[in-house]
Amino acid sequence: MIDGFLALYIFMLAAFTGKEIIGRVPVILHTPLMSGSNFVHGIVLVGAMIALAEATTPLGIAIGFIGVILGAGNAAGGYVVTERMLEMFKSSKNEKKG
């Protein structure tokens, strides 16, 4: 388990990281980036898998099962739509290179 104050530092540093890496984004990439960050929080799947593995009661298994389905859907769907959007970004210069 992570110590309380250490966790606060991790929260803080991760928050600054999130703001910094998105700060230089041109407007044209905002929608794909939002979709991409939507994909990244699909990591919740890992938490749901562990919760389901630890579940012992039927109710616990049912809730964990729903969590895994939803988390997997977030990750898979988020990846596909982001990749499809980004596939389209070509510059008129790149295009000639193939």
Binding site: I21, S37, F39, V44, A48, F65, G77
Partner: protein, 468 residues
């Protein structure tokens, strides 16, 4: 060290690697040159983290886990592959809602686990963050589903009733009180159920009164919510990868929400707590709309040296972007300077219009942002507005009684000639009359976007043929 301990260490190391790949992936997604690689990096991180988790779960409930992943992945993957680009905003909303629901489910599982007899209460911080994460995740889930339904046209745009804000606030306070009771008073299974029902209801209630024009900001906000919910549940479960990835998304999403709200000149509190489109009516506009035929519009284009095209969501709905690009190519071939001017909130989300144009094959270096293009309208011969409305309405600058007063707009009205392609005389998404349509230098080409582009291409060829 036994095998199991070793496996757990390997899994934890994989999570560290995955977190690094997520951050690098998001960073790469912030430049058009590296963006396509960025999503792949993040994708590799996700696969590594998921596979590593099987080492921790030690085969417990393995069948359920594998079945759950299959049920979650297969339909969303297939759906995401074939959905139209215009529908992307609601897809993001839907997938985001699933993530929020997953975080809420984790929270529910944790809380119910502690209510079992013989379980000792967890440390205060763990319990508190599990509750907060569950609250935010549940709100994000139902809120995102309502956002999806609204954008997908499955639900009346707005739903309001008297005393709504007070009622919503009361539900929110009740949800928070139930959460506080769980943390400080009693971990009771029925109280957990009440807490979740209130949180889920609040997500629905808070999204119902918000109009479609504000939906991008709301989706972005829920994206940030889900990130935070994932981070907090990650703390409750002691999984570092969730904490880092969730928090990065939470912060990035909050920042992006601010950018969007600023671009629309709508403070986030205004989006959430007031009803857009219900305010001032704006001053009535004098004058009339002046129609133009495609042939005359084509000769205007033929005479022009510099043309700026201002596309809006209406163009995408009419599926006219391919034809518009064809028209632009014809103009470029005739030696004219052609640019596409994009308002930050054109389409349904910032950057959505860029995606739609990219789909049609428009190179991104012809696409210019609002701040860069606005000074150029003065030297532009013809501006073509297709499917855009509120974002080109000069009332946002001149009419203090207009509900959109203060919103940054594209200064299309400064161009020498403006051609507006529009199906009929209706108002825009915000339901406001557009002063641009009545301006002296504006001509209205009443037609479906695709058809109008087709006509312009044909007429342009005719004019060119006649000119030689």
């Amino acid at each position: 060290m036994d095998t199991q301990t070793l496996l757990v260490y390997a899994a934890k190391a994989s999570y560290l690697l995955a977190a690094a790949l997520f951050i690098l992936g998001i960073k790469r997604m912030s430049s058009p040159v590296t963006a396509r690689a960025g999503i792949k990096w993040a994708g590799i991180g996700m696969v590594i983290a998921t596979l590593a988790t099987f080492a921790i779960t030690r085969g417990h409930n393995l069948g359920w886990i594998v079945a759950g992943i299959a049920i979650g992945v297969i339909p969303t993957w297939l759906w995401g592959k074939k959905v139209a680009m215009t529908d992307m905003p609601q897809m993001v909303a839907l997938f985001n809602g699933m993530g929020g629901g997953s975080a809420a489910a984790i929270g529910a599982g944790e809380l119910l686990k502690y209510t079992q007899p013989g379980m000792s209460a967890p440390p205060l911080a763990t319990l508190a963050l599990a509750v907060i994460g569950a609250l935010i995740g549940a709100i994000s889930m139902t809120g995102s589903i309502i956002a999806w339904a609204k954008l997908d046209g499955r639900m009346d745009k707005r739903f309001t009733f008297g005393g709504q804000q007070f009622f919503n606030f009361a539900v929110f306070v009740a949800a928070v009180l139930a959460g506080l009771a769980l943390v400080f008073w009693k971990l009771d299974a029925s109280l957990v159920v009440v807490f979740f029902l209130l949180a889920l209801a609040f997500g629905v209630l808070m999204t119902l009164p918000i109009g479609g024009a504000d939906m991008p900001v709301v989706i972005s906000l829920y994206n940030a919510f889900t990130g935070l919910a994932v981070a907090f549940e990650g703390y409750a479960m002691g999984i570092e990868a969730l904490i880092v990835a969730g928090m990065v998304v939470g912060a990035a999403g909050t920042f992006l929400t601010q950018l969007m709200a600023k671009a629309m000149n709508r403070p986030i509190s205004g989006v959430l707590f007031s009803n857009f489109g219900g305010g001032g009516e704006g001053t009535a506009i004098a004058g009339s709309q002046k129609p133009i035929e495609a042939a005359d519009a084509a000769s205007l284009l033929y005479m022009a040296e510099k043309v700026i095209i201002v596309p809006g969501y209406g163009m995408a709905v009419a599926q006219a972007q391919h034809k518009i690009w064809e028209l632009s190519q014809a103009l470029i071939k005739a030696g004219k300077e052609v640019k596409f001017a994009i308002h930050p909130v054109a389409g349904r989300m910032p950057g959505h219009m860029n995606v739609l144009l990219a789909e049609a094959g428009v190179p991104y270096d012809l696409i210019v942002d609002m701040d860069d293009v606005n000074p150029e309208f003065k030297t532009t011969d013809v501006a073509i507005v297709i499917g855009a409305n509120d974002v080109v309405n000069p009332a946002a600058k001149t009419d203090k009684s207009s509900p959109i007063f203060g919103m940054p707009i594209l200064d299309v009205v400064d161009a020498r000639q403006v051609i507006v392609i529009k199906r009929g005389k209706g108002t825009g998404f915000a339901g406001i009359e557009n002063a641009l349509f009545y301006a002296d230098n504006t001509r209205m080409l009443y037609a479906d976007g695709k058809e109008a582009a087709n006509q312009l291409i044909a007429e342009l060829k005719a004019v060119e043929g006649g000119g030689h």
